[in-house]
């Protein structure tokens, strides 16, 4: 099995706020992230696809194809957007790194035509990230 990883960056704004909590609770739980006007990050996404290289092309999945999938599914949807208001898949969810990584997994998994999606790692800052993968599949 070979694991290939493609990286991409996007910039977006978000805020953490749960309408079921009081203003004080929101402030206590989410701290600075609760600022009502939002704030932003440069996100770095690493997408890992696992598979056997095709004997003819030597590729697990054509990187060009992966790049186009990422452009269409992620960049166009999330880059320079306010995640809370503009990304339908995040409606009703707090756009934490954990939730965004899961949304990205669900957007990408059905689109990967060769090999299979192995891991999504989303960095919100260089010091904070979330990984999403199938249970039991970790290790690369």
């Amino acid at each position: 099995m070979v694991y290939l990883t493609r990286k991409l960056e996007f910039s977006a704004s978000h805020l953490y706020h749960n309408p079921a909590f009081s203003a004080e609770e929101n402030q206590r739980i989410f701290g600075k992230c609760n600022n009502p006007h939002g704030h932003g990050h440069n996100y770095t996404l690493e997408v890992t696809v696992a598979g056997e290289p095709d004997p003819v092309t030597g590729m697990v999945l054509d990187l060009k194809e992966l790049k186009e999938i990422l452009e269409r599914e992620i960049t166009q949807r999330m880059d320079h957007r306010f995640l809370n208001y503009e990304v339908a898949e995040l409606k009703g969810q707090i756009p934490t790194c954990e939730n965004i990584a899961r949304v990205i997994w669900n957007l990408l998994e059905p689109k990967i035509s060769k090999g299979r999606l192995h891991k999504v790692r989303l960095y919100e800052t260089p010091d904070l990230y979330a990984d999403c993968y199938r249970n039991g599949a970790h290790g690369a």
């Binding site: 707090i94 756009p95 899961r102 998994e109 990230y129 979330a130 990984d131 199938r134 249970n135 970790h138």
Partner: protein, 141 residues
């Protein structure tokens, strides 16, 4: 589709500390041979990077596996405060009789963090320099 997915949170921390690699079980020559420059009796230091991975259920109310402020506070108290700007050999009891290699530092940090109450500690990765990285995920059951 979301079923069967596992989510982990990774967070990086930093501390700077000095150490000396010297084993009381080895002779002076052996220590010099095994540890080379790291055996310098006055010690030397590194800027360590500690990457902590935890997993758990994402709370639908907060979108979080664990509250980041709580994780930060826990790591600060258990690891950063006792290790940062310290001599690991002299100031951390665990390294009095245990050589503070990054392998051992990694295991010690794992032990200190494994009781984090809000999520399961998956692994600890310690970077001694940009070229040396060590990872520990506990002993297999």
């Amino acid at each position: 589709m979301t079923e069967g997915l596992k989510i982990e949170l990774g967070r990086c921390y930093r501390f700077s500390a000095s150490h000396r690699l010297h084993s009381s079980k080895l002779s002076e020559e052996e220590n010099r041979r095994v540890y080379g420059k790291c055996n310098n009796p006055y010690g030397h230091g590194h800027n360590y990077v500690v990457e902590v991975s935890v997993s758990g259920t994402v709370d639908p109310a907060t979108g979080m596996i664990a509250n980041l402020a709580d994780l930060d506070g826990f790591v600060e108290r258990e690891v950063i405060e006792p290790f940062d700007h310290k001599s690991l050999n002299e100031d951390v009891a665990a390294f009095r009789d245990n050589v503070p290699t990054t392998e051992n530092i990694c295991k010690e940090i794992f032990e200190r963090l494994r009781h984090f109450p809000e999520a399961k500690l998956e692994r600890v990765r310690v970077e001694e320099t940009g070229n040396n990285t060590f990872e520990y995920a506990g002993e297999e059951l």
